[in-house]
Structure formats: C-alpha cells, structure tokens
Subunit: 120 residues, 2 copies
C-alpha cells in the first residue's frame, strides 16, 4: 500500500469526469484544471495530463478522434484530439473511480489523523 494517492490517479479521476460531461481535448482540460486548482496553489503539469490521457487509452477506457478546431477554416486549422468512452469504457471507468474513491477516503483519514495526533 502506497503512502498517498498518486498524482496520476487523481488527475485520471478528473479527466474521466470531464469526458463524462462532454467530450473534450487535452489542452482544454488542462486549462480548466489549472483554473480549478488555483485556490490551492497547485498547477497540474501538462505532461501529466497527456500521460494520464494516453494511459486511459491504453487501458481501453477511452479512444481518440481527431478534429479540426474552429468553424471558420480560414482562421484556424489547428487539429485537436477528442476523447470518448469505448464500448465498455464507462464500466471500466466506474470501476476505476470506485478504487480511487477508496484510496481517497483512506488518504483523507490519514491526513485527518495526522492533524488530530500532532496538533492540539
């Protein structure tokens, strides 16, 4: 049993959630997460987002499609990579989330314990 939850697992959880809400692409989700965690002073590194996404693909949870961004072709031909759930991806994601939830609770318990034990 590892000490704390890994950053990778934490990020994967958020990415799965974002794909559940609407299919998205890496850079977009990165920027959203940066914004969400600003109050905590935590800046998720972009390499971690892409690595997490690639792992979720390798694990058969997500698959990729490519798309040109923007409606006006004369303005922007930038290609983006969209992520979607595979056939049984939703199941796999649900199982993964369940595991992460267990670990999250365990970690919260250990941190609360540290506060209770060492700070009166």
């Amino acid at each position: 049993m590892a000490f704390m939850i890994a950053q990778r697992a934490y990020i994967k959880l958020y990415l799965i959630n974002k794909v559940e809400q609407r299919r998205g692409y890496g850079y977009q989700m990165l920027e959203e997460l940066k914004e969400e965690f600003k109050p905590f002073g935590y800046v998720p590194p972009q390499s971690e987002i892409y690595r997490a996404l690639h792992e979720l693909v390798q694990e058969g949870v997500l698959y990729r499609t490519k798309q040109l961004k923007g409606n006006d072709p004369s303005v922007d031909f930038q290609e983006i990579v969209l992520y979607h759930f595979t056939d049984n991806g939703a199941e796999k994601a649900a199982l993964y989330k369940k595991q992460v939830k267990t670990d999250l609770d365990r970690c919260i318990g250990m941190l609360h314990k540290a506060v209770a034990d060492n700070f009166v």
Copy 2:
C-alpha cells in the same frame, strides 16, 4: 507547489511529536507507527524512519545519544540511539510543524474537493 505532502514530512511530524512526549529511539518509534497505521493498511518503511531521523539531526532539530538498552547487563547489551531536542530544536520543530500543518490542510482540501467534484 508539489501535488501532495511527502511521506518524509508526514513521518517527521510524527517523530517530532514522539520526541516531545518522551525521548525515544528509531526501532521503537517505527513499531509504534506500524501499529498506529495498521487500520489504514499503511506500513511505514523502516528506511524512511531512519532517514527522517537523520535529516532532523542534520537540520539541527534533534541530537543523538547512545545508550545500552536494558537494566540487566547480563541479558542485553544492545545499543540504542536516543533522540533529544537541541537548544533551539523546539523552536525549529514548532516552525516545521506549522509549515506541515499548512500543507496538511491544503492536501485535505484537495482530496475533499476530488470527492465533491467526482462523486455525487
């Protein structure tokens, strides 16, 4: 800003607390911690305890004394290393604890956020 609190910092916090209560030695504190964290399935590796102790010495928080364990010399000559606060060790420890507390709170916040954001 790192993602989560480091195991090293977490253990140091507990070691400082144990030295505050009574001067102790490595193996003893290790066994106590193993017992304390059993419910969480977390087994602190002994190398981490010794590393943390050595760092606290290098940082000028603690100093070491050696002592033979046991009252009856015919039974046990095992040598143990006891740890005590240095002159300004208590101050340094208090400052360190304050910093760790801040980080603990931040981490608890991030874990709670993950539960709130990803589990309805």
